[in-house]
Symmetry: D3
Subunit: 163 residues, 6 copies
Amino acid sequence: MKRKRRLSTPGLSHVDRGGEARMVDVSDKPATLREAVARGHVTMSAEAFGAIKEATLKKGDALHTARLAGIMGAKRTADLIPLCHPLLLSHVDVTVAPASGGYDIEARVRTSGKTGVEMEALTAVSVAALTLYDMAKAVDKTMVIGEIRLISKRGGRSGDYSA
Amino acid sequence: MKRKRRLSTPGLSHVDRGGEARMVDVSDKPATLREAVARGHVTMSAEAFGAIKEATLKKGDALHTARLAGIMGAKRTADLIPLCHPLLLSHVDVTVAPASGGYDIEARVRTSGKTGVEMEALTAVSVAALTLYDMAKAVDKTMVIGEIRLISKRGGRSGDYSA
Amino acid sequence: MKRKRRLSTPGLSHVDRGGEARMVDVSDKPATLREAVARGHVTMSAEAFGAIKEATLKKGDALHTARLAGIMGAKRTADLIPLCHPLLLSHVDVTVAPASGGYDIEARVRTSGKTGVEMEALTAVSVAALTLYDMAKAVDKTMVIGEIRLISKRGGRSGDYSA
Amino acid sequence: MKRKRRLSTPGLSHVDRGGEARMVDVSDKPATLREAVARGHVTMSAEAFGAIKEATLKKGDALHTARLAGIMGAKRTADLIPLCHPLLLSHVDVTVAPASGGYDIEARVRTSGKTGVEMEALTAVSVAALTLYDMAKAVDKTMVIGEIRLISKRGGRSGDYSA
Amino acid sequence: MKRKRRLSTPGLSHVDRGGEARMVDVSDKPATLREAVARGHVTMSAEAFGAIKEATLKKGDALHTARLAGIMGAKRTADLIPLCHPLLLSHVDVTVAPASGGYDIEARVRTSGKTGVEMEALTAVSVAALTLYDMAKAVDKTMVIGEIRLISKRGGRSGDYSA
Amino acid sequence: MKRKRRLSTPGLSHVDRGGEARMVDVSDKPATLREAVARGHVTMSAEAFGAIKEATLKKGDALHTARLAGIMGAKRTADLIPLCHPLLLSHVDVTVAPASGGYDIEARVRTSGKTGVEMEALTAVSVAALTLYDMAKAVDKTMVIGEIRLISKRGGRSGDYSA
């Protein structure tokens, strides 16, 4: 019940009793190993799909650019998401693979820290998806970025999670 | 035909003949007024939806934080997307509104520049969506960010577009 | 006495014996819990004060934007202040409240780290004050940002401090 | 009257009718030459004042570090202030000089752009002041940063201003 | 002669008469098309050279990562070099190719702006070289980054230059 | 042999078996004290050398600007080098000294972390060299940045290294 009194509504940890946004205080939490996996999808036309595939077959740059942007994006999470705590990421891996009418993106992020890395994994997926979109936007303006969600989460007080 | 010979595949403007990623040369393009509108959606549980709504009714911070993060994210686009040209945005507006099982996000971006602002609008939507997710993630781990797409685009050589 | 010989002048820890600026070596210091509180004030005309108050009553965005900018600014401290050590902030809270002819700003920052967070708290106040100024500058060009100072400091070798 | 209807309150150009923060649309404004001058002051103990002066006499690094941080800070303004438009600064000059119980800081910023550079000049002063504070904080914890204000402003539709 | 009197020493345009660093005032200069080409070299052991080559033959990621980092680095130049003016780059191209005992790096940068893009081209080469070093540092600790220099420069008042 | 199977080629720790770039997983490595020293050189004409020297004798700003840029650059390493892990630097020192036909630059960086700080030291040297170049480029367009290399490295599993 202690938590309910402190927050305006159950669970919105970034909002205090008065409804004001704030960065949660994690000072007293121990630094533990944490991992999060997130996924997303970019749906595109057969033409855009083929153009990226063909470019990838030659030198691999199209998908690689998306993967690299995702890795770098993960490191910028606390700059982008106002109430995110800065974390020292110990591992970031992003994969991009062809899948049903487009490309699947998956990011795996690890840290030894006081908060989880869900936002870092989701940010990696989002930035990789935006980059893939940027590569193919001259071919297809109807692409859709979607299904960005948390797949699993390990470590931390709130326990493990698997979608 | 000139364009086809220069690129490895029709339309992948960020990939050259050899399959290497590069930043398109827009040196000779005139700076014109351009606008792009993008939208996305965050699907969430009734509990998360309600928690954000309740916090918003009090002080408005939950949705406002997402909107502000989207505006700031738009300004960071060229930092995040490797091959994006830097642009001086002359207007960014982000709205977040309750809609079917979650929240709709819309971003409108304008510039006077040599390239379009699709990526800036899509980045604004993505960062706002990630921020909304961050606000409610303690309540609901099954949220999904999706339907991020271009709604319309005005200005520039390639003509106007409307989804 | 050891310290006096190492520095060009007593106390300027960021300046070595030869007068050259440098980042202090904190490698051997333990990481301990630290907290700093800073305050500042933006003095403005009654018209500007009222305009912000009115906007705040409606949706809360005026003051909220300043608070959020302060929180994000705290996370950028080591990017802005040349000789500041990067720190993983575990908590940042910024409040903005009406007070004698303007608005008072207070920032509270915590970390588990090798150096204190005074600069982070002062940066949060400064960026929040600049943002409040930016909101009201079309109404009042005579606003003054001032009284930015350290209120208290806990943790670390140099002991606690209270203004 | 047109403006009044568009805004929730006269003059808060960054807040729309509904009270929501936004980035003002300057798409239709011409790019003109603009200049702003801002000033501020860091009040400190005689000991801190002397320590900085002594270090400066040797190699000049103490004041120089503050000036350089101010110049770099000006370039980061749109990253820090949420609703600021990005601008291509064509000139930034920061001076730091001993004055009544501390140091005076002045910043002069110029651009050819669609909006003024008040915030860039004020940000330069703020970051220079914070850096000076950082240099002397081991000697004096009672320093106060204050009197940060706009001195003059030239160019743009709203006309010239002089404090 | 006018210039000589303004500067402390002939040519150090970033240093004023008093010896203080500043950002040159380019407010009155017209925006013209400018280009700069810079080159550099990373010398490495046969083992490191082969490891990068082998990885590149498979998926191209080793050299591609360096090229992409160079492109992104060019966009960060004004953030890194204190007195550099921000510029809107209209084109950045980085190539990395095997050459006498290591890899040659070349960057070509274009803008329509008030100052040249030498620093952007040199920064692109430097960041690409550092990234290549990072890829191979586990194999070879004796690598040397060198020969970073301006190859050519076009546009602007000071005329064209070719090494 | 375990390592060979995991990597596509011996030693390219940032490239996996399939040739894809990734950020090495250091989650299980302990945080230990690490130090790296790197050096580089800027070769320039007697005129440029003298101009910097003269400016330095007056106020010290020319060399100081380079040193400060190097310190700040070290803190941006993980932003610039795609696969670098973020680290909390506990010490950065950069020196710039006249030497055979130009200036020598040395950077010393320390951290308590899971990976070494070679890249941070090399980045500090590179950014300081670029800044020195920027200061003198109006006098001499034939300057060459070179000899950027690791001098020594302490701490971490791979043992100490001295060039």
